[in-house]
Amino acid sequence: MGNKQTIFTPEQLDAYQDCTFFTRKEILRLFYRYRDLAPQLVPLDYTDKPDVTLPYELIGSMPELKDNPFRQRIAEVFSEDGEGNMTLDDFLDMFSVMSEMAPRDLKAYYAFKIYDFNNDDYICKSDLEKTVNKLTRNELTPEEVTLACNKVIDEADLDNDGKLSLEDFQHMIIRAPDFL
């Protein structure tokens, strides 16, 4: 129904529409953005579900991501292999979560994973230090960084285990309506 496109089968498009927050047109537009990163690697026919992965360097060079200090973590969190190399599914997933239609709890979940540098499901002190350095471009001295991290853990850690769990983080996000 509608436009005749041969990239996806209708069932594939329906599945994408159900699983992301995008409409058909947006999904097709995102596919073209993905393909523009490496036209020789990405085929125009996805009906047989080809297994194509784009390396992190190409993803990180996209204009939306190239200035974001967390782009490497974002790519790692959303990629299947954890190294930043993304398939089309991961790509759509990433933009779906970052779009304005995604609810805040979903974004909070992924933000937690982005800030969790060592992937242990907790934001511990070293994760926080790396976050602070990325947020401030290494302009603070190490003592200031440590002090700031201690303050954060003091305030947000509800169950007093010295690190932030997902619940602590979500609890904090609810009280911060500026979180995007």
Binding site: T20, D89, D90, L128, K151, E155, D161, R175
Partner: protein
Amino acid sequence: FFEEAKLIGSLVSMSTRERIKAIQKMPETMKKKREIRNKVLKEITEKSRRHRNQCDCCAQCLQRVAVSYRRFRNTLSEYFHLLQLWQKTLKVIGGEFGTGVLSYFIFLKWLLTFNIFSFLINFSFITIPQFVAATPNNLSFMGLELLTGAGYFQETVLYYGFYTNATIRKTEKGASYNMQLAYIFTVGIYFVICLLSLVFSMAKSFRRNFINPQMYSGQASKLLCTWDFNITNEKAVKLKQKNLSTQIKEALFEVNREVLNFSLKERFVHIVIHLAAWVASLGTAVAACAGVYFLSIHNLELFMNEHKNDLENQAAMLVLPIVASLLNAFIPFFYSWLGLLEKFQNPRHQIYVTITRNIILKISIVGILCYYWLNIVSASESHCWETLVGQDIYRLVLVDFIFCLLGCLFGEFVRRIIGTTVCVNLGMPEFDIARNVLDLIYAQTLTWIGIFFSPLLPGIQMITFSIVFYVKKVSLMMNCQPPRKVWRAAQMTTLFIFLLFFPSFVGVLSVIGVTVWRLKPSKECGPFRGLSSMYAAISAWVEILKNYSGSKWVVWIYQNFFESALFFFILSTILLIITYLYWQIIEGRKTMVKLLREQIMNVGKDKMFLLEKLRGLPTARQNLSVP
């Protein structure tokens, strides 16, 4: 695996729309979501196959219809997205300047929709019927009318005075259109819709952004929640990082030094300075109002004494709007300077105090003008006082628009040139969000007051707002740098919506209420000529309705709900009781939240205690087993 089966079971039992929403919200990878979705769909088709014995083709048909309906709705929503104005522009602005500046443009777009809606319904229900019964216009058109709104425009549909009070009939026995009722009901229904829309926006915004204001200024939220992932411009990113590092350094510095205990004398001096600043600001506001009042009385004398079509006279009519706009443009600078003098301890307080003073100034100017219009102009012996008021408002709106453009030119363009060439340490100007939003609120207040006296004014405001949007956007891109201070966009937007509702919209409702209920309409012009009050049109209509047996219920509703005071008394009591009940529920929930937090802390402590014990166990066991 068991959890997955439970999840699939719960998804199968939901309706299609809820299921799609639930799948979209799941924090899993796309692959997993697709698997779950396929499993759920398989389950659903199996279930429907089991039920197929009853009605084979019916169920299949229904399913197909449902699927194609959903596809149709999806395509429709895609086209609806095209209608959204300026989406790309807003994204670009948000990307370069952050959400603070973006909130100003979103607010402007929201006010524009109010004006578009008002213009559409006024034009269709009031102006188009008037074109059918129009009287010819004998005045000539000179160029100055565009600015002053008088002259040729006086006898057009622009103003209240032109509208007929007759019941318009196309043919003798055909359908009739009662202009008086149409006028009152169109304006009334528009204001009711505005009221509901404002109240709902305010409630939604308040609930999202003010859930728990304690713990707000915590450093944790500053660190982890203020990174604006919307920003895509490299310069803006660097600036934001620099700001964050400065803020963290300031916060740490505050923590490191002891909280200074101000001595009694210093506190006293601070209070005296604050009081003096408040007295100065309120004094300036009162002086501005007095100036506007005397100028407008002088204006009225000028208008009554001389003949209307003199060019010099018409130019003299522009003095009042120019003075009002000058006051609105320059007194806020004085207030900002006062704010700097006062040396607030909390920069948030400075912003709030400055906004309060500006709002007091703007609302008092509008208030004094309304007082002048409602008490003095309506009692004067002019031919058509409502048209006079309409013309005044038209001029105010237009001159305010011109000053806005000039302010953009001088405040941002010239300031940038000065800041980059002559006096380099000033740098590029920042976009002053609070001031611009308050200007918008002022313009919208004037428009709302003007809707009754000049039904096509929202159309003019529509055009001005669109031009302001483009001018501000171009000026922003060319001249401004991203804001340096933290601007809590969500909280400030709630505050601005509240300011739009409370002094602005409620004031407009009172002015229109007084006009409709208390004031005597002019005898020779407008839809209510000759009546004792504009409301009398409705009472007269209800009297007529009494004679028709079919509409007795309307008469009954009118008599028992709108005319009786008992009804309003009972309504207010019920509302007060409900408010009190909700307040008690909130208090109860607050205590529960506190208790639950303590519980979480205790659980954490228990966990640590048990972990310690567990660590001590193997050594204890070793001691036991090895004799």
